[in-house]
């Protein structure tokens, strides 16, 4: 287990997540892609923290902030999905070509 190997795993997770976020039509699946990218980001962060930062506590703090970001992303994402669904019965990205009602 070296920094390089950890970072390559993180890069793979980010790559898969990017593929998911770009390719999925459904909002919920799209959010899964975003979450997977953030997963890779957390892994990279912990790798740097452990191998390069000498255990500086700010690295862990950053991971906690990323987790909060994930929670916010998911809550707002789902709230938007519900709001859009109420309005248009739609849960796919194509059906949102306009922001107006």
């Amino acid at each position: 287990m070296t920094l390089v190997s950890v970072l390559i795993v993180a890069a793979a997770l980010i790559g898969i997540g990017l593929y998911g976020a770009l390719s999925q039509q459904s909002f919920v699946m799209l959010m899964m892609g975003l979450e997977l990218m953030l997963n890779g980001a957390i892994l990279a962060m912990m790798g740097f923290w452990s191998f390069s930062l000498g255990g500086a506590p700010e690295g862990q703090l950053l991971a906690i902030i990323v987790m909060a970001v994930m929670a916010v992303e998911m809550a707002v994402g789902f709230a938007l999905v519900v709001a859009v669904y109420r309005k248009r019965q739609a849960d796919m990205t194509e059906s949102l070509t306009t922001m107006k009602h």
């Binding site: 519900v82 669904y85 109420r86 019965q89």
Partner: protein, 292 residues
């Protein structure tokens, strides 16, 4: 070796019995609940013996056969004060079905209905999906869920349409309902067949209270002290009626027709609502619809 040892141990076990309550069967089955040596279970999957207590309408023969098929093999059947609807198991006319249940616990009924595999897959779209788009279609010989209006918060998600009854233990025996559910919220109801006749015994306050409390997860002993009434919404009919039964009074309120009363209730509330009326009144409330 281990098997022998296990079966020797299992010989002393309680017999799990799934009770199908027919006409006049409610009170006798309640009486069985505290008999040692057997245990009444809520699901046919947990049972070893099918006990049919009281006459079951010929119209429910298919439902009963399906239930028989749901009990894992080996299984036994006992018809207690009931005319057999199909040739499995043995009948008991007397007051005590226990010896017959013991005998049935060693029996091995053959299947009454043939075991049919599920409908084959019928894909039609380019990716093998059942519908033309990604929605709808009839992939396993039954329709996929489609969205429909929700009466509670207006979020129109997939609905579940199904027939519930007549032998579900939490519903009044014999009652068959066609329900449309959004999650566990009932959206629409139609009564397919009314509950069975239970006679005077079925209306006894202590039995009614015990049935309702069982749905709330406690035994009837000192139910008042345990806040059984507090658990129900204040001022609701269910709370009032349970209180009357716990005082030993008879409930005189009559239910409004089910298709009007049940929509909007959650599953647990609906089940409690149904259990909070006398079986005879509930039957009466379902009858005219049936005739019409």
């Amino acid at each position: 070796m281990a098997m022998n040892w296990l079966s020797a141990l299992a010989r002393g076990a309680e017999i799990p019995v799934f009770a199908v309550v027919g006409a006049q069967g409610l009170a006798p089955v309640e009486g069985l609940r505290h008999r040692p040596g057997l245990r009444l279970v809520d699901s046919p999957r947990h049972a070893r013996v099918l006990l049919v207590a009281g006459a079951v309408d010929g119209a429910h023969k298919t439902a009963l056969e399906r239930l028989h098929a749901q009990i894992p093999t080996p299984r036994g059947t006992v018809w207690w004060q009931a005319a057999p609807l199909f040739a499995r198991g043995q009948g008991v006319a007397g007051d005590d079905p226990l010896p017959a249940i013991r005998a049935a616990a060693g029996a091995d009924d053959p299947d009454q209905r043939p075991d049919v595999p599920p409908h084959p897959w019928q894909g039609m779209g380019p990716h093998g999906q059942g519908g033309r788009g990604m929605m709808g279609g009839n992939p396993y010989g039954r329709p996929m869920a489609m969205t429909a209006d929700d009466i509670r918060d207006g979020l129109a998600l997939d609905v579940y349409n199904a027939r519930f009854g007549p032998f579900l233990p939490m519903l009044p025996p014999g009652l068959v309902l066609d329900l449309t559910l959004q999650g566990d919220v009932i959206v629409s109801v139609s009564v397919v067949s009314p509950p069975f006749e239970q006679g005077m015994q079925g209306d006894a306050p202590d039995l009614c209270a015990a049935r309702m409390l069982r749905l709330m997860g406690i035994a009837p002993r000192a139910a008042r002290a345990r806040g059984a009434l507090l658990a129900l919404p204040k001022g609701s009919g269910t709370r009032r009626r349970l209180a009357a039964w716990l005082r030993g009074q008879t409930v005189t309120e009559r239910p409004s027709p089910l298709p009007e009363a049940l929509p909007g209730l959650e599953w647990a509330e609906a089940v409690l609502w149904l259990a909070s009326f006398l079986p005879s009144h509930l039957r009466a409330a379902c009858m005219p619809r049936q005739a019409a």
